[in-house]
Amino acid sequence: MPSSPFFVGLDADGAGAHPAAAAVTGLSGADLVSGARLARTVRQAENAGLTFVSFADALLPAVPGSPAAARLDSVTRAAFVSRTTTAIGLVPQVPTTYPEPFHVAAQLASLDIAAAGRGGWVASVTRDAATADAYGRAVVGDLAREARDVVQVVRDLWDSWEDDAVVRDVATGRYIDRDRLHYVDFVGESFSVKGPLITPRPPQGQLVVLAADGDVAPAVGSPARPGPAEQLVDVTLVGGAGVSTAIGNAAAARERSPLAGINIEVVLDAGGRTGAERLAELRASTPAGVRSTWDTRALQHVGSAAGLVQLLTDLATPGPDGHRPVDGVRLLPAVLDVDLPVLARDVLPTLRAARLVAAPRPGATLRESLGLPRPANRYDVRAPAAAVSV
């Protein structure tokens, strides 16, 4: 039996994952950023039983100068829906390349507190030089190394408060026990952070960290960090031109992270039109000067809901060795308002009925929904081994 549930995540950014999604739907900038629309979309995803929604993001627009490229900050979006949902994981994409790691750690910890443990983080990298200009910084050369250092220090900061650091000891007047707070004293190759964080340890201890394969370099040992190198990424997301390539990539990624899933771009048959017809229209409508293209590194499913059910069934069904080919998928709907209803009506219920996927329980943390344990605190001297000897 597989130890963890098969996850099905969904990217719920803007009009959809295809760069022409806003153009074909005619959504205005105001529609794209409306809080009411955001809350409705995420509620629909939660009702459909999806494990999590991610929120793609970038500081700069996909189409410079176009109001239809409107987009709000991802952590702010995730926090906004944290109190309008109860079960679904909320996973903003936050780049590691230019933002301040200290701010990122506090923002994500705060998201996890507001969402009662349903927070995650797509730790991404920013490749374009224009973003460096927006920050007024030099272009970061080694993106994976910088991402490694940022994920490392954010994880350190989440542990910089032990779970029971707030003691409220009336007798001595101490609100916190300073022995349960820790300077992280992180020194990376391009920056250092003193710590501790201003925000207490998040409910999950560590938010679930997702990353595209190769974006975050593996942790390395150092004199300051003896012992085995930490796994910085909980869920590696892979792509692949075909199913077998993607499965092979996932198998390789499992060596480096507890879970591996496949990014799948979906263009479903909908509204009397085939997925292929819709994709052709999207291609023809792609605005000139678009910064990012429909990500060809992902696996693609263009076609029927039944075909997607079959693909997901194949990916979720354990083989003779008892292991699934992959641990889950993240779906990137070409056009949210068209593809999400089909997923909710024709795809997820079938998978749930076949007991291949389970909707997250209300009140469950994202770690619980993914079958990941709650990590011990790296600074807690009462670690399990020590506790045994007491």
Partner: protein, 458 residues
């Protein structure tokens, strides 16, 4: 009172609530005191404030945990959420109240911060504000990529530059694209933002449309001449410390208005909200007793010794809090950054001399002295007398409203909303319902400074 004539006979009292982050004034030891971290605590406070028709809910910011002589300070309430993230979550469960995020200009990047503030503004339907604060010390900088890079003299220059870039970003989208559907056209293109100065090299295409209030509201809390000038030139609201003595508040108001006019603005363009506490009782004696109890519990023996020890620069935990101040002088000249920016550079011997004189004149112990120093903040009395005091403050033109810090959470606003607000309403000095949904509307503000000719007030 002829001494303080009523100059604004129809002015209304406005309230904001400051959810204290790091502080020693929240009585966390009381059995009624809830978690200082759980979302439920914030939710109850903001719901009470919205029920009481408050204009705004404020969150503070601090970018490093305070220390006392090299060790983490362990006596204060501490552990706060990121302000914008927390306010975004609160935005979804409220409909009218303004949401004010304190955000530092030194340790943030202008393009990113402007975008996050505007994101909150759009998602909340035009209820966001930015309380602009500055820091420069290397002690705070140790948590950031650039470290303590900024010279003290440049901190307001940096703040001004950061605000100028934010305004360009907020003005970049064509009108109508951020408004409710159908209220305007979304034609036109988004302006490119370019700023090249001694402190900034920024080039970007913004992504964030305008909210119904046009720009996030600007709050400012600095009290130095530089801080007052910054507020007079930029702020919609100044969050003052002048909320205890009416004559002092009137003097401050006159100064702010002079500076606003000098900056080319109408004299009422900057609203004044002192921070305050309000304690009510059934009778004057009851209120007095409650106030005394609160003050006594805000300053524990350990906190009293820590506050005095911080000025003296040494560990005084062996001293008797009910005994006299140390007989010797402070061992350090001035305070470093480890207690936060508001005390950095304070001259310890001057403070010690003042405290000693006060303690001798009034025969105060260490703890009594600290309580005495804390006790001038705010209003106390019956709901009727407090309401009349607040009305006098507003109608003499000393203030526009009050930013209330509850001494306990989550229940600390209950008395004010249930007992003081109705008294104000009876006197026609407080609204009976929200008449708009944006913070700009609640505060009666004009259009953003950069858009006075383009659009009217929301």
């Amino acid at each position: 009172m002829t001494e303080f004539p009523i100059t604004r006979p129809h002015a209304q009292v406005h309230f904001g609530v400051f959810f204290q982050g790091v502080n020693h004034t929240t009585v966390w030891s009381d059995p009624e005191s809830g978690s200082q971290t759980d979302f439920a605590t914030f939710e109850r406070v903001i719901r009470t404030a919205e029920r009481g028709l408050f204009d705004a809910f404020f969150l503070g910011e601090g970018l490093r945990l305070r220390e006392s002589r090299g060790a983490l300070h362990d006596l204060d309430v501490v552990g706060r959420p990121d302000a914008i993230t927390q306010l975004a979550a609160l935005a979804a469960i409220t409909t009218h109240i303004g949401l004010v995020a304190t955000q530092n200009t030194t340790y943030s990047d202008p393009a990113e911060l402007a975008r996050r503030l505007q994101s909150l503004d759009v998602l909340s339907g035009g209820r966001a504000a930015w309380n602009v604060v500055t820091t420069d010390n290397a002690w705070t900088g140790a948590n950031f990529r650039r470290g303590g890079y900024l010279d003290h003299a440049l901190r307001y220059e940096r703040a001004q530059g950061q605000l100028n870039i934010a305004r360009q970003i907020w003005d970049a989208f064509p009108d109508g694209t951020g408004a409710p559907a159908g209220s305007g056209s979304s034609d036109g293109t988004v302006a490119h933002v370019s700023e090249h100065s001694a402190l900034f090299e920024v080039e970007l295409d913004p992504t964030t449309p305008r909210s119904p209030q046009g720009h996030p509201i600007i709050f400012q809390a600095g009290d130095s001449p530089q801080g007052r000038d910054f507020a007079a030139a930029n702020a919609d609201v100044i969050f003052s410390r002048h909320g205890s003595v009416l004559a002092d508040a009137l003097e401050f108001a006159a100064d702010v208005r002079r500076r606003a006019v000098a900056a080319g603005r109408p004299e009422d363009d900057v609203k004044i909200f002192p921070g305050t506490g309000i304690i009510v009782g059934d009778t004057p004696a009851d209120a007095e007793e409650r106030a005394r109890w609160v003050r006594w519990n805000q300053v524990t023996p350990a906190t009293a010794l820590s506050i005095v020890g911080n000025i003296w620069g040494e560990d005084l935990s062996g001293y008797d809090p009910d005994g006299p101040l140390p007989a010797h002088d402070p061992v350090v000249e001035e305070l470093g950054g480890e207690r936060g920016s508001s005390t950095t550079g304070a001259r310890t011997r001057e403070i010690a001399a003042q405290w000693r004189a006060l303690a001798e004149a009034e025969h105060l112990s260490i703890r009594e002295l600290v309580i005495r120093n804390n006790s001038e903040r705010g209003f106390q009395g019956t709901p009727t007398s407090v309401a009349e005091d607040l009305i006098r403050w507003v109608r003499t033109g000393a203030v526009d409203g009050f930013n209330i810090s509850p001494w306990i959470v989550p229940s600390g606003l209950d008395d004010i909303v249930d007992r003081v607000v109705p008294e104000l309403q009876e006197r026609g000095a407080y609204p009976t319902s929200y008449t708009g949904t944006t913070l700009r509307h609640h505060l009666g503000l004009r259009a953003p400074l950069t858009r006075r000719t383009a659009v009217g007030a929301a």
